[in-house]
């Protein structure tokens, strides 16, 4: 009898094409899961990590088949079980957590019904016992109002809460194994921390084993005991978390590590390529307020952005960051004219632009280009790449025929794609290649400003970092200004000349990248910086000790018309001032603006305090390890 809970033995999964050829997806993978152990499967998309994890449920996606090997649960092969036994396995012994909680919950049923459903259905618990157990789990997962949250509907809780509720759903029937498929990938960094922390705690308390599927090494370092590195359906390397993170032996693991976003610190960005040429900004946003719904007296029904001032210099890269819902995309949409603002002006090369793009001149449309987040929906799947890129050339510059084709080839080379791709359809390209075509289409217009809305968020880390490299090259070659929107501070820090930090529709801090990323920080910027996972074991525990984390993740975002929007999550909030008065804008050095009631000195002091606490913890941590080593 082995002490392993699950054993994957030489598992092979593949698809057979119509003409009989076999395409292997998983090429003989073996690893074990002990009770109470968290095993992380890590790899890029297409590496087969999700396919393997589903093997624990004896399930494959349609079109795939188990073509060899065994998956043993307590020594019994789940792949050869009868349908009846498989039904008893799924949800009861092995529970699956999908990536998107929003798509997993049925919006028509209450959360409580769905959390308890599988435990009751499998006859593990009675409805009363299941409800009680669910309440315990809500409590363990630190969900607000554990006694009543079960009566709510999925749309009544936040994304991070829903993700934790899904964990409650999976754990309700006390399964032996949890399969977590990228459970935090779609979340903001601040939300990710709260979810990770809850997951880790509940997995420890329940002593459940888990398979954690992700592409993010930094996240894995926080939760896993054992790491399996996959590439193209094969195991490259596996071992305890400490060994993989600190002493990776395989070339591919090292490569994954290098693609992990560096910590957002000063000095990562490059100096603007064309400095000094800044008498006039390429684009300016002046006192702009925008939102949705009808506009009454310059106030939209729902205000998303309030009093925004942003300047975009020639050949400058402006990074706009903030959590989802803070209005980042709305800002770009206002600049592009896709959403007319309620108040304020948008200027291009010094002249005021019409708010609505339908009234803008063709010249202005050509000079401001919007690049969408999802290349899949931004490219017409029924048009050849040739048409997609060639159309702006024809439309704005009247280039047709042979010249057009040649120009398309040039642009394809500019975005580092082979010219033969001109004759393909978007569906014949990979995700990263599609994103390059998406950029190429905007480049073909020969714009002054490109508004890039989260262009790397849907891509794997390696592919994403290649796209950033490309953008940097394009900026140097073409002199285009970029407004680069992202929720990922590290990406922005490595690419932008200037950073604009948005929170609940307001600019809380902006300035040159290095100035924004060095103290004094706005308290919100501080929270964002400390939320970026570090590739270090124990980082999660450390960071939770910080007071701004405790304050920051406890409450949600509130969009307010008066006072500082960050007040309810700010560790340094001054009651009576911050909640009633709009914070003054302070300039620390030239162009670095912080909107806070605290003076620059006070912010510096707060930072020093944080550092002190941090160092204190590190020292304690060091002592402990030293002590452990001595024993």
């Amino acid at each position: 009898m082995t002490d392993n809970l699950f054993e994957f033995k030489d598992l092979k999964i593949g698809a057979t094409k119509e003409d009989g050829t076999y395409i292997p997806i998983v090429k003989g993978v073996s690893f074990n899961i002990k009770p109470g152990e968290v095993v992380a499967l890590i790899g890029e998309s297409g590496s087969g990590k999700t396919t393997i994890s589903l093997g624990a449920l004896a399930y494959t996606k349609p079109g795939l088949e188990f073509s060899g090997g065994e998956v043993l649960l307590y020594g019994e092969n789940v792949l050869t079980m009868s349908d009846e036994k498989t039904r008893a396995l799924r949800g009861a012994k092995v529970a699956y957590l999908a990536q998107s909680a929003a798509a997993t919950f049925n919006p028509a049923l209450t959360i409580g019904e769905q959390v308890t459903e599988s435990a009751v259905m499998h006859g593990i618990l009675t409805q009363e016992a299941a409800t009680k157990r669910a309440e315990e789990l809500y409590h363990a997962l630190e969900l607000p109002d554990p006694l009543r949250i079960g009566n709510r509907y999925p749309h009544q809780v936040s994304g991070g809460q829903l993700q934790r509720l899904m964990a409650a759903m999976a754990l309700c029937g006390k399964p032996d194994l949890l399969v977590l498929d990228e459970p935090t990938t779609a979340l903001d960094v601040t939300t990710q921390i709260e979810v990770l922390k809850a997951f880790k705690k509940v997995i420890q308390e329940e002593n459940a084993a888990a398979v954690y599927v992700t592409h993010d090494l930094a996240v894995v370092a926080q939760v896993a005991d054992h790491i399996v590195v996959l590439y193209s359906g094969e195991i490259m390397e596996q071992g305890p978390v400490d060994q993989i993170i600190n002493h990776p032996t395989h070339e591919y693991t090292r490569r994954l590590m290098s693609a992990v976003r560096p910590q957002p610190t000063a000095g990562l960005g490059e100096e603007s390529a064309i400095a000094g040429e800044r008498e006039q900004d390429a684009m300016e946003v002046i006192d702009m307020t925008a939102g949705y719904g009808g506009i009454v007296d310059g106030e939209p029904l729902i205000t998303i952005l309030r009093d925004i001032n942003v300047d975009v210099g020639h050949a400058e890269v402006i990074g706009v960051i903030g959590e989802s819902g803070c209005g980042k995309s709305t800002l770009a949409r206002v600049m592009a004219g896709l959403l007319p603002q309620a108040r304020g002006d948008v200027k291009l090369n010094g002249s005021v632009l019409e708010p609505d793009l339908h009234h803008r001149k063709l010249d202005d449309l050509q000079k401001v280009q919007f690049v969408y987040q999802m290349a899949d929906t931004a490219l017409n799947s029924k048009q050849h790449i040739n048409t997609i890129i060639g159309r702006p050339l024809e439309f704005y510059h009247g280039i047709t025929g042979k010249e057009n084709r040649n120009k398309v080839r040039e642009i394809l080379e500019l975005v580092e794609l082979p010219p033969e791709f001109a004759d393909r359809f978007p569906s014949e390209l990979s995700g990263g290649q599609k994103q390059r075509v998406n950029l190429a289409r905007s480049l073909a217009s020969n714009p002054d400003v490109m508004l890039c809305d989260e262009v790397t968020s849907a891509l794997d880390s390696i592919v994403g970092s290649n796209v950033i490299k490309l953008l940097r090259g394009l900026r140097d070659k073409t002199g285009v200004s970029f407004v680069f929107i992202s929720h990922d501070l590290s990406t922005v820090a490595s690419f932008a000349d200037k950073i604009v930090v948005l929170y609940a529709g307001r600019v809380v801090e902006q300035g040159p990248t290095d100035a924004v990323l060095t103290p004094p920080f706005h308290p919100y910027t501080r929270l964002l910086i400390s939320s970026v996972p570090e590739l270090r074991i124990g980082w999660l525990e450390d960071t939770m000790q910080k007071r701004e984390m405790a304050a920051g993740i406890a409450r949600g975002v509130e969009i307010t018309a008066v006072g500082c929007p960050f007040f309810n999550r700010c560790p340094a909030g001054i009651e009576g001032t911050c909640d009633t008065e709009i914070p003054p804008i302070r300039e620390t050095i030239k162009d670095h603006l912080v909107a806070c009631h605290l003076s620059i000195e006070e912010l510096r002091e707060a930072e020093a305090h944080t550092q002190q606490i941090l160092h204190g913890f590190e020292r304690i941590g060091d002592d402990e390890t030293a002590g452990a080593a001595a024993h």
Partner: protein
Amino acid sequence: MTDSTQENQEPEVKSKYDELPDAPPKKKIKLSWVGKTGVTIIVFWLVMCLIGPTIAPFHEADIIADDSFMPIFTETEGEGMHWLGTDYLERDILSRIIWGARTTIGIAVVATLLAYLFGVTLGIAAAVAGGWTDMALSRVNDAILSLPTIMLGLLIVVALGASIPVLIGTATIIYASSVFRIARALGQDIMVMDFVEAAQARGEGLWWIITREVLPNAAMPLATDFGLRLVFVVLFIASMSFLGLGIQPPAADWGSMVRQNLEGLGYGSYAAIWPALAIATFTISINLIVDDISAKEGGSLAKKMI
């Protein structure tokens, strides 16, 4: 130890870890045997439409047999074999089915095509233009949709007289309104896609957006619906004929042949079955082709998801 083996592998390993391989070039759509069967049957009926009258044993209006509702493979002396028997008026069923192909398929295809021309153009235009144009077109369309089809058909035919052009026009109006609904709904879905917004942001006009962005993406679901709609038109013309306001006797069409020979079922005659089979083979074949093509499209999608 492991270090040294890893280092030996490094040169070849390095080039391997590029971005994962891109999707293979798209293949031309190849029909499966199901689709090919459909194509064969459709081609057969289209050939019948063209050359039917020259190869049919008898004329559609000839009353030649000795008896009505004769069973299959019976012979009338001096005239010839009735392969599928005779109908209630002692006419040769096989000949009438062959002649009827031209009337039935011809009218149905023309009417459905016209319904699609108007329905899709206006539906997509309503979706793209939005606002008042959409409101005006949709309300008029709702008014047409609210009338029972047969009643509307009767009204038009009674007012204008029963003739093939009137019949086609009536079917066009009635079915264009439901096509309009579908086209508008599809158009609205596509209009909110990012690539359409990108085209609008580029400053493209209505014509480009309709013909190049929206229509190609609506084509597949519309084609699926075309098959279904064609069946409805065949049935509509059959019911009009049954009421005496469709194809005028003695001209043969499949719908009215079914209706006229229904009473034969009581005498154990298959006379009504043969034209019904003709309708079935034609309509099912169209749907087989459409389904096969859309399954292929869906199949490639499923493969991409893996």
